[in-house]
Symmetry: C2
Subunit: 329 residues, 2 copies
């Protein structure tokens, strides 16, 4: 394992200091590294808060800013943040219109966000993201895992919150976006958590893990590496089967890298996914391609499809200004 680091136990904190310095026009770091929040708090707007273990950067801190999250609570690498972090974040970004938590369906995150939601004085609601179609229940999950589709939920809800939607409207829209979003992933290599010092899992130089989770947890099966077209077919088909699209519906396509896969290959996967989508008569209205929901330096990618009506597309297109996503301003 070779990383840029000083001390294994200060990796997250030093990284957050760099992040806050690099994006001081957008974000402020909370005390004791408990959360990253927007610099400008907007009164009368529902506050959107997400979070989860570090190691998935730019998720979630990279999505804090206008048109997306109000705060993100980072846990240590692949470790849930605490209920205290969420509560302190909620108090810091409270705009008087309630708090919406956006939570990836992982056992630790679910438990801690639920605890925060119960204790919190402010009116609040929670949108659970469970877009991963690979497996029902898994190493760290009851039910489906929440993965790259979280970005789409955060973006669309962020735009809706900005236009003034109420807590109830946002909860309803968030559940609808989650239901319309499905993902599946493949890994070609493991990642190594610095504190563990060894790869999360072992994989031979000729195999791939189909249906892998964003912490390297196992998915559907371990098989020899297939061609890009074969992989795209399996991932995209699984996603389309889950979504049961109707003819004429438009989609947002997110081809997401896990950190160790070059952009050159991600765009090749976009091309491969397009062939499958075209074969199924699906029209891609919007693309996002890059390493947005990562697993440290793991090589691999996921394919996410979100069935988007015209309102969702308009919200997707609305101005956003975060460290990792920015358009329209």
């Amino acid at each position: 394992m070779k990383n840029f680091m000083n001390q294994v136990d200060s990796v997250l904190e030093e990284s957050l200091d760099g992040f806050a310095a690099a994006h001081s026009d957008i974000v402020v770091l909370g005390e004791d590294y408990e959360f990253v929040r927007r610099k400008e708090i907007k009164q009368g707007k529902v506050a959107l808060i997400s979070g989860g273990g570090a190691g998935h950067e730019p998720l979630h801190a990279g999505f804090v800013g206008y048109g997306m999250l109000d705060a993100a609570c980072p846990g240590q690498i692949f470790t849930s943040p605490t209920p205290n972090q969420m509560m302190n974040a909620a108090n810091a970004v409270d705009g008087g219109a309630g708090v919406l938590f956006i939570v990836k369906n992982y056992a630790g995150d679910m438990m801690n966000f639920q605890m925060a939601a119960e204790i919190l004085d402010q009116e609040n609601a929670t949108v659970i993201v469970n877009d991963d179609v690979a497996v029902e229940n898994s190493t760290h999950t009851t039910g489906r895992r929440g993965v790259a589709g979280t970005l789409i939920v955060e973006r669309i809800l962020g735009a809706a919150a900005e236009r003034g939607d109420s807590l109830l409207e946002l909860k309803k829209l968030g559940d609808a976006v989650n239901k319309a979003t499905a993902s599946m992933a493949v890994a070609l290599s493991s990642c190594t958590v610095p504190a563990a010092g060894k790869p999360t899992f072992q994989i031979s130089s000729t195999d791939m893990e189909i249906g892998v989770g964003i912490h390297g947890e196992p998915g559907r099966r371990r098989v020899p590496l297939a061609s890009a077209d074969e992989i795209a077919l399996e991932l995209t088909k699984a996603v389309l089967d889950d979504l049961a699209l109707k003819p004429g519906q438009e989609v947002i396509l997110l081809v997401n890298g896990f950190g160790g896969t070059p952009l050159l290959e991600l765009y090749l996967m976009v091309n491969a996914a397009h062939k499958v989508l075209a074969g199924a008569g699906v029209s891609v209205a919007r693309h996002l391609t890059g390493s947005y929901v990562t697993s440290l330096e793991m090589a691999g990618c996921s394919i996410t499809v979100c069935v988007a009506d015209s309102e969702m597309l308009a919200l997707w297109d609305a101005p956003v200004h975060t460290a990792a996503l920015r358009w329209g301003m």
Copy 2:
């Protein structure tokens, strides 16, 4: 070697097809994959053209669009594009005000861009980027190599071309930006070119290559992995020594990943570089952090500093709309 690919000899073409599909609002792919050009050609504007071997994505195609390049010519992985590609690109994006080539100082690129410049009917000029302070002359270079600073040159010139600067003005500004920009890099791992099938270089699990080039070519020395602070000190000091800043000058800081280094670690390096810069009394006016000038899946990073006057900063901030950089629109 494990990659997402179908055939080793069609990796670039399939990737370009995916890129063009994903960004069809911004770019058009030239015939025979010779270039990626802007969708909208602006008459009366100097055309900015860059290019080089693939494997450095998002450089250069990811920087084609409003406020940056008019066209990019991709060679095969780590292989220069041909003079024909550059000439056909120049003809495709000609706005009647001349053509400016932006060329990284590598022998193959230099020779082929020079040949194109000589044959081309249009009035043209060339800005050579040679920001890498690691070595004078190298495996593929006479003089210093052109590396991540190329992004800064392309961005600032792109904005200046958009406001209507003449070919002569752009050439002068480009040379000034190049002179004001310095970079140095470190690699923790090699990358593997798919067509070669084996790592470009061998490096032990405990060493790093200081002063590495963006094709994995050797730099200053091979030494045991040091702490992030020690690495940042060596890279940043080399860059600052080269630039000889005067007190009160402002800089743009680009911490660039080579593809295989997680964003978590890049921000940690931002923090480490900040300590060195603060110690030297240097004020960072703008940041860019991410994997922008890559070397396939190589783990490592470079630190680039550009000494920017108020005009350069205003051009940096001006609207840009490309696949990889976007703000202000």
